[in-house]
Each structure stands twice: as C-alpha cells, then as structure tokens.
C-alpha cells in the first residue's frame, strides 16, 4: 500500500525525524488560509500516488497567501499520470543548502533491508544509480541488531555527506526504526535537506507498506484510499482476486499468478494485448468464475475474454456453468475462448453447445483464437 507524502511525513515525525511544518488542503481557499497561518513562503505539492509530480506541474512555490490560493487552484484537479489531484500539501518552504538521499528498501539478493545513501539527492535516485553507481552507498542491515548509531555515522562519512554528523546519523537510525515499526517495504527521504541554518529536514518522503503485515497495524489501515486505486482492483480484491488493469482489449482470467502471467505473454505473442491480469486463486467453482467475469467485463476496453484454468481436479463443467450464468444474466456478451485442463471436459462442451464460447485443448490455440475474435492491437 502506497502512502501519500503527507502521511509518510506524519509517520516520520512520530519517529522523531524533523519535517517542515505542513497541512493538507482540499480547496484553494484552505491553501490560502494555511499559507497565511505560516506567514512565510510555502510549497504546494499535489498528493497523488505517482512520481514525477514536479515535472507535471504538481509542485509550486508561493510567496504570499494569495499566490498560494492561485497555485493551489492550478494544482487541484490536475491529472498526473492518470491520477486526479484531490488534495495538496501546503508546507513551509525550506532554504536548501544541500540535498541528499536516504532510503530503505528490501533487497532480495542479500535478503535484508538495505540502507541506501547518496549525497546526490533531490533527483530520481534510479537515474543516479544507473549513471554513477559509485554515488550510491548500499548497506544491508542485520535484522537482529538493527541500524546502530555508530554504523549510521560511518555511513554518513562514507557517503561524503556534509553537515551535522550526529543529526544526519540520527535521521538514519530513526528511519530504520520507522521502517520496522510500521512494516514498510520502502521508506525514502528524497531530498534529505541540510538547510542554510544547518538543520536536517525530510523535505519529501515516500513510504510503501507491506500489505502482508497490515493486519498488525490497524492504525494505518484507514490510510488506504480506494479512490486512488483502480475501482476494478478494489472490486476484485473484495472477491479475493488479484487484479491489475492493463492497456489491451483481451480480458484474462486464470488460476495462479504464474499461469496468468504466462497467459498475458501468450496473448502478446499471438499479436494482442491483455486488458488485465486476474488471478482467481485456487478452486475454479462456477460462482468464482462468474464473479471474475463480472469484474473483467466492467472494463469497457474488454472485447473478448480468455479463460485459462489449470487444475488436476478442476472440473471444466464448473467453469462452463459460471460462464453460462454470466451470459444468461446479460453480463457476458463478448466472445470467450477457454482452455481448462482438468476433468469433465466433455460435459463442459455439451453445456456450451451453440454458445459463443469456444474451448481449446491448449493455451496457445486459445490465445490465437481470442485474438482472431477481437482483432489484434499490435
């Protein structure tokens, strides 16, 4: 689960990391009000779940309350990579002397949480890593001891960061405490600013939470914003499906993440593009297939559906019954290609007789068939 910048900063502040004072505004007038409370230059930042806000015009400085109102009006409603801006963070501007980067991520190779540090902050850190890997320090943290202050000080020195050593190291130690405390999967401060008066401040922050651990943080669950996610992803998760919206026109339903990924690959290989990833998980009962079809067919891009089910004990006629129910209720009006490896295939064929649902013995044949029915997009 992604958090907004202001939510991430609230968490960091709770763990003792200095952040610029800021408040959230839903209207331009609220932004003006907040700016006049601060009585100083403010920065107005779109709160959307995507990067590249600055380039999209979602971050602006304002010298006066009136200017804050104007700038907030420009940013509110702004479409940034498909996300509509519904709120802005109005924060006291900081006078930047240096911009650094500090981040914690889960590293699969070392199987540890890795601290990444760079004195080249304020820019896309992936670009820094690609262009000058030596400018990014990576330190795998021992999960049993955590990040110790002396280690943090050594790393600050190693990264070549200037400024108050103890304050910088303290931010790193607290960032790790926050990461573990809230079960994050990513926690980044970029930029980590040294101000002209020598203060160390987290001027921007990004936190992603580990969904598997949300159950032990009930206080964080309300931070999930359904309107910030794709509505079909929300609906699918209510059925227990894993769904990802994609940009093609072939609806895909399968069981098992690996098989669904493979099915998307087959669609592409046959000259088409999948409209979605949908994993129904284990057990392809008629009801489950019917619910999956309901979700997939709410997407107006879908011109046909490819159902790819594997199961040693899955009954193909159960899958067929789910498909037929969706047709009889008028939900399913598009062609379906299906491939079900399991038992009762003959019964399924008999049920589907005379309907625009076609069964194929292999995934590859089904992929080709659905592309010929909906037309390729390549």
């Amino acid at each position: 689960m992604n958090l907004h910048e202001y939510q991430a900063k609230e968490i960091l502040a709770k763990y003792g990391i200095p952040v610029p004072p800021g408040k959230i505004a839903f209207t331009a007038d609220e932004a003006k009000q907040i700016a006049s409370e601060f009585g100083d230059t403010v920065v107005i930042k779109a709160q959307v779940h995507t990067g590249g806000r600055g380039k999209a015009g979602g971050v602006k400085l304002a010298q006066t309350p009136e200017e804050a109102r104007e700038k907030a009006a420009q940013i509110l409603g702004l479409n940034i990579k498909g996300f509509i801006t519904k709120k802005v963070l109005v924060a006291k501007a900081v006078n930047i002397a240096k911009e650094y980067y500090a981040g914690l991520i889960l590293d699969r190779v070392t199987q540890r949480v890795v601290l990444m540090l760079s004195k080249e902050g304020g820019v896309d850190i992936e670009e820094v890593a690609a262009a000058r890997p030596e400018a990014l320090i990576k330190y795998p943290i021992d999960p049993f001891t955590g990040l110790r202050p002396f280690q943090a000080r050594e790393l600050v020195k190693q990264a070549g960061m200037e400024g108050n050593l103890n304050k910088l190291a303290d931010v790193l130690v607290k960032l790790y405490q926050a990461y573990v405390g809230i079960d994050a999967s990513t926690a980044e401060i970029n930029p980590l600013v040294i101000t002209d008066t020598g203060e160390v401040v987290a001027a921007d922050a990004k936190i992603v939470l580990d969904d598997n651990a949300l159950y032990r943080h009930p206080e964080l669950t309300p931070l999930r914003e359904f309107e910030a996610e794709h509505p079909l992803e929300v609906e699918a998760s209510n059925y227990g499906f894993s769904y990802v919206k994609l940009d093609g026109n072939v609806g895909v339903i399968g069981n098992g993440a690996g098989l669904v990924m493979y099915t998307l690959d087959l669609v592409q290989r046959a000259g088409g593009r999948a409209a979605n990833f949908l994993d129904i998980g284990g057990g392809a009962k008629a009801e489950v297939v019917y619910n999956a079809l309901k979700v997939v067919l709410k997407d107006p891009d879908v011109k046909g559906v490819f159902i790819n089910i594997f199961g040693g004990i899955t009954r193909a006629d159960e899958v067929a019954k789910g498909v037929i129910r969706a047709m009889e209720e008028g939900i399913l009006t598009k062609p379906v290609a299906m491939r079900v490896a399991g038992t009762a295939e003959e019964e399924a064929k008999a049920l589907l007789q005379g309907r625009p649902v076609y069964m194929y013995p292999t995934s590859i044949e089904a992929a080709k068939a659905i592309i010929s029915m909906v037309g390729g997009t390549k």
Partner: protein, 290 residues
C-alpha cells in the same frame, strides 16, 4: 535417486488440524507420503486421518524420526512455525503459507541460514515432489510421472503445466521443487541447482523463472561455472509492465532490476536456451536429451 525427498522421508505436518492442513495431509497420504505426525499447538493428543497430533514439533521429534516438515499455519504464525521446526532439528522445512509479513521472513531466513543445517523451501510455495515416492506439497500428484528431468519453479500452476507436459512427452520428473513467489524465500534456484547437479537420476534441469528480482541471473552464473547437465529456462511475465505487482509479491520490475531482458541475457551468457511457451520447454529438453 532424487533430491531432498524420497520414499523413506518421514514427514510432519504443522497446522494439520486446519482446513488446508487436513485437506493436503489426506492428499499427501494418498500420494504415498509417510506422514508420521502432525503439530497444532493446543490440540496435542488428538489424531487426524490416523496421524497422531502433538502440541509442539519438539514432542513430535521425540516420538518419531522426522526428516521434513510441511507448514500450513496461518500467515501471522507461519515464520514462527518454520523456526520451531528448525530449532527442533528438522533438516527440511517447507513453508506453504501465503501472505507472510516480509520482515518476519527476513528474520526467519537469516536465523535459519545462520543455523546452517536446515533447508527452508518457500514461503508461498507449492512444495516439492519426487513422483511416486514423496509428495511434500500441494501439487496435483496425478500430473507428475517419475523420470529424469529436475524442475525448479517460482510459480505453482506453471510448474504443474510444465510437469504434465514433460511427463506426457515421456521424460518425467526426478524431483520438482516450487521455490515460491515471494521476495524473501528460503531457497533460490542457485541453492538447489547443486543438488540436481549431483543427482545421477537427473539428466537435465528446467528452471521456470519469472520477472522480478535477480534469482535467474544468479542461477545463470552458477550454471555457467559449475553445471554438468543441460539446463532449459523459461521466464513468465515477459509482457508485464514495469512497477506493477503481478499477483506474486516478488513478480515486479523495479527500475532495471527484474526485467525479462536482463534474465534472457544472463541465460544466453550461460548457454541456457529459453522457451517462450511450455510446449517449447519440452522441445528444448528433447533437443538436449534426444
């Protein structure tokens, strides 16, 4: 021969009284697995499907020789269950449970690796099978026929499809290991390749990888340096967009890490042919084994 499990492997099931645990215990018994005991804290003294249940793994190991444990314990308690088995001296621990908090796994994997004598497979994995001898997992046993191809996979259903295709083509499976789709897992491709390398029954190995992480690249480096047998690769999720998690928590392309291009290049460097479809896996195995 085979790797990790055979007809003599004595197994305990942690979480045996739960719905999943009981269901799969029955399926494992049917497949010929020697399930000698079950463990559910608070339910010791009961018996399920003729299998005695203990409160702790320690008690189970006091009464039985235990070669392996398979875990169906719910996610919040799953990492603890794996550590319980490891500390009780069980040498092979298979963690089936899905959705375990990642930091729990970071700690559990670090602790188990530091112990040095325990092999952990998973979490979020289908387990492993030596067809006809021991099924220590949740896969449908009927699609696996005994044979000479070792199979390692990050996915469940793709594994079954591949095993079925190899079995129907007459090659069959020596042992199949599903390593799991999570970012932090107990054993990776490169941890298991040496076992297949030394197994006389395994004549070739198929690696079913997918996007995300760099396990395939690590495997390719091992293959190039050490592998004595032909290896065939497969990479699922080639058409997936960057930054989107495709069902498996581990199947996500972050920046330049985890891309299919990187994995294909690594396999090419190690002379590992990569199949685009499951049918092609069989063709490539045929090209190697005849």
């Amino acid at each position: 021969m085979s790797i990790l499990v055979d007809k003599n492997t004595q197994v305990i099931v942690q979480g045996i009284t739960g719905r999943e645990g009981a269901f799969h215990t029955e399926a494992m018994l049917k497949a010929g697995t020697k399930v000698v005991a079950g463990v559910t804290p608070g339910k010791g003294g009961q018996s399920i499907l003729g299998v005695p249940v203990y409160d702790t793994v320690k008690e189970a190991t006091a009464f039985h020789r235990v070669d392996a444990s398979i875990i169906f314990v719910p996610a919040p308690a799953a990492a603890d269950a794996a550590l319980e088995a490891a500390h009780a001296g069980v040498p092979l621990v298979v963690l089936i449970t899905e959705g375990i908090p990642t930091l729990d796994m970071v700690k559990a994997v670090a602790e188990i690796k530091a112990m040095g004598r325990v092999r952990l497979i998973g979490g979020n994995c289908p387990g492993l099978i030596t067809p006809g001898e021991c099924k220590l997992g949740i896969m449908p046993a009927n699609v696996f026929k005994r044979g000479r191809v070792g199979l390692i996979s990050r996915s469940g259903t793709v594994t079954y499809e591949t095993a079925q295709a190899l079995s129907e083509a007459g090659y069959g499976i020596s042992t199949c290991v599903g390593i799991g789709g999570d970012p932090i897992i107990g054993s990776t491709f490169k941890d298991l390749l040496p076992l297949f390398n030394e197994d006389p029954e395994t004549h070739a190995v198929v690696i079913c990888g997918e996007i995300g992480g760099s396990d395939e690249e690590d495997a390719a480096a091992y293959i190039k340096a050490h592998m004595k047998k032909p290896v065939v690769g497969f990479i699922g999720g080639r058409s997936a967009p960057k930054g989107k998690k495709m069902g498996h928590a581990g199947a996500i392309i972050m920046g330049n890490i985890g891309t299919p291009e990187s994995k294909l290049a690594a396999f090419a460097e190690a002379d590992v042919p990569v199949a685009e479809t499951i049918d092609e896996i069989v063709e490539l195995v045929r090209a190697k084994l005849g």
